[in-house]
Each structure stands twice: as C-alpha cells, then as structure tokens.
Amino acid sequence: MRKIIFIFLVVMLSGCETTWKKAELQGFTHPKMKFTAQLPVNWMYFSNPKMIDITKDGELLNDIFVETVGFNTELSATKKRYKPNMLMDELAEVDIDNLRSNASIQHFDVFNNQMTTLGGEDAYRFEIRYQTSDGLKKKGIVYGTKHHDRFYRIGYMAAEQYYYDLHRKSFEKFIQSFQFSD
C-alpha cells in the first residue's frame, strides 16, 4: 500500500502525463523540461520528467522525441559523455558516436551534419539512416542543444518507406515552434 501511495505521489508531483494523450491545438508546455512547442494535432504523446514521445502511427513507424540528458552521465553505447563545457560540434560527435557504437543499430550512416540554432540557442543537427533490430529501414533527424545547465536531444525517427517523408513537415513545424520556457 505504501508503494502505491508513493507512486501516486511521484506521479502527481511530477506534473507529467502517465498515459498516452491526444495532442490538442493549443501549445504544449513541459513543466520539468521547461520548453513549449506545438505538438502535431491529433498525434498521441506520452511524457515523463525527462522525455516526451509523440507519434502518429506508433513509435516504431514515426516518433518525435525530446529528452534531457544529464552532463557526465553514462550513455548507452559509448563510454564518452556529454560535458557541459563542450562546443556544439563536440556534443554532436558524442551523440553520433553513441549511435554508431550501438550494437542494435545496423548499417548506420550520418549525413548533413550541421550547426544551427534551436529555441534561440546554438544547436547541432544531423540526419541518419539505419536499420533496426527487426530489419526495418529507418531515417531520422537529430538536434542537440544546451540551455542553462541542461542538454536537450530532439529528434524525429520514421520508417524510411512511406512514413519518413509523410511526417517530416510535422516535425519541422514542431521544431519551428520549439521554445524554452525559462
């Protein structure tokens, strides 16, 4: 019983969604990650204090995500870490190497690695092509940026066939609307 109460309190205090919800026309504010953006209307989203996932047809087929990654924390595949004093190109390097070293990503390829801005901050942006563990060919776009002491990764991943091009504009609109709220 204590456990249930504890979980309930954590959920209430986190101020984030615990179930999938439908994105509405009005803008979305993430209270913990401190950003606002226009989610694609009628897409489904799920969020917790460190991430939000938004999808139209299911995460495997198309997925927009925003996540905050702690500086100096262990990453899933590379032993490298994001450091607060890194420039954008160095952060991009770590991000790409973490993907490249991931054994469950096959035929990994990076292209259009560029520096840009996001929400008024310097940012990196690169595109990737890969094959999933189930043999599904996917394409994606990844952004990374720093705001105050937080590091953000924002991305769009979709099945290369049909879905990627279909929803890419929705992602671009999402990126254009992305703003930090503090």
Binding site: R81, D89, R100, S104, Q106, N113, D134, G135
Partner: protein
Amino acid sequence: MNVPNLGTQSVVIQDDERRLMNRAKEVREAIDQSGWIYDDQAISVYLNAFIPKLLPQGLKADEVDFVIKVIKDPALNAFSFPDGQIYVTTGILAVAENESQIATLLAHELTHVLHRHGLKSFRSLKNTTAWWESVGLFTGGLGMIVSELAKVSSVSGFSQGLETEADEAGFELLKKAGFDTAQSVKFFELMDHYYKDEKGTEPYFFSSHPKLVERIKNFKRLSGVQDVSETSETIDLHYQELFHELIVENLKLCLSSGMYKTVENQLSRLMKVYPQDAHLAFLKGELYRERHDPQEKRKDRDKDKDYAVSLESYDLALSLNNDYDEAELGKGRVLLIQGKKDEALRCLNQYLQKKSSADNKNLVEYLLKKAKSQP
C-alpha cells in the same frame, strides 16, 4: 551423455543437433546481413588458411563446414557455431601480435566445434522443450541475433569444464601444427591488459569460465613457459602489415566507443612500426583531443598536456602529408578550446580555403564564429 568428438570416425548427426545447426544457420544469416562483417579478401584467405593447419588429419566431418569470418566490433570476442562457422572480432585481431596468437584463438574455437560443445551444452539443460520454445520467439534481425547468438554459439562461453577442455585440446592442436605455443600465454596476457584497461566493458570472451588469470596459469603449465619475455617471437611485421587496415578501422571503432586506453596502447604499438603514417598521427591527435576521464579525476594540467600532444600529432600528420586537411581542422578545434584565438582562426581559415566545398563547411563556420567571439 555419450557425445563422441568429431574425429577420424564418421559421426551420425542426431535430430537435436541438426536442429541446433539449422537455428545457427538462421542466426549466422542475420549476422551476415547486419553490415557487421569486415570484408577483406586477403584477411579472409589468411584466417581460413589456419583451418587445414590446425584440424586433425583424416577428420571425417561431412556435416561441418569450417569457415572463419570477421565482425567489425572493438570488443575482444570470438565464437563458433556447431556447424563449424567461426566469427572473430576486429578487436581481438587487433590485439594479437602474430600468427601463433591467432592460432591459439582459432584452435580454441575449433575445439568447441570438434568436441561438439554446443550439443553437449544443450543436452545438459534440464528443460530442452522450454529452450526450443524460447528460441522460436524471434522475429528476425539483430533483436534475434543478440538473444539467439548466446543459445546456438559459444559467444557467452560454455561451462568451466568445456572451456578448459577447449583450452587444453586447442593447445594440442596448436602444438601438433607446429605453432609457437608460448605465444598462447602472451596472447592471454595481452587480453588481460586490455581487460584491465577497459574495465566495465567486459567482453564475452572473458566472461566465460574459467577466469582469465586461471587460463593464463593453465597455458603457462601447458607450454612450460613461466616468463613470456623469454619467448622469441613477439610482434610479427608480416602480420602487422597484413592487418594494418583492419587495425586502423578497429581504432576508429574504439575511438567512437570511447575506449581511449586501448586506442592509446594500439597507436603506441603501431607508430613504432609505422612512424611515417600520417593517418596514425592524425588518429593520435583525435585521441588526445577527445579523451577525458569520466570520473573527472584528471587535473586540468593533464588535459593541457593532452592538447599539447594532440597539436603535436596533428602537426606530425601535416608534416608527413601536407594535404591532410582534417589535421588542420583538428588543430583549429584544439586551439579554439585552448582560447588561442588567432592561431585557431588561422587553422580554420586555412582549412576552409583548401576545402571550400567541404561537407562540413557549416561546422567550420560555426567554429570560426566561436573563435571570433573569443576575447
């Protein structure tokens, strides 16, 4: 459980073994299509030439087809399937110094096949029905590979008894084939160094039983060599020459994986053999630019030393090959981090002048903007 070894007498393959082989074939096909295979004809010929040298004469094993393939993976690993297919990683090949050490590794894996350790392991399970059910769950691709590999290959190691048997019988194959058996001790010691350098990323090869230190003891006992420095053959230049590109490719994988100590050790070894290789000098520059201590135990002055070595290495790359533009860019990046504005601007501008149509023009312009904004 009477499972005779493959040898000079024909062995009848049982139903369960055939099923194991069929399953292994599916896993192998997934590996072969994953983009992981390091495809180099010369290396393939070299490695597969060990098979007739190591296998017992007069072997009757019609159902087994011995083939060795290389996987692009910086981890130290090797594994075999019941049908004779053996995979070795670029990581383990990069650690080896000569052909006797490679023979040690391959003799061990061949023994797993010859002694039918896959079948013995499978039959020792209490509930084989549940095993088959679990194997049948996969849907293909790497999701399958990761879980299935452990079930139908030697990737996660067999029992302590079977691993010891593979070491000892493998040693006999090595001896009969006339390889320098003392190198088996050296090989395991090299892997031990790697393991200590890269704590936290324990490769499968080490996670098998018995423990590495015990294996070193075993090989010392078997070879009668207590001090490896007594042995004659160490770094074989022919081997290094043949595997040069593979080792460099593996260094890049290690660098991406943040295995800085391994990169440092291997570069140090390689640069003694190839002091005029601009690419190695460039990789050293990249290593010292990138590396950091995850626990932040290093002091700032150490990082300053790293940057000094990095700049020195980029300069060496440029002196060996004046067109090595990436070294110019690397220098610019280090100088920018060090706050040496004018020097950074000079390097970055020089890079842009040489590579006006570079894919990363936008990145260099960002670095130039950063440099210009410095006081």
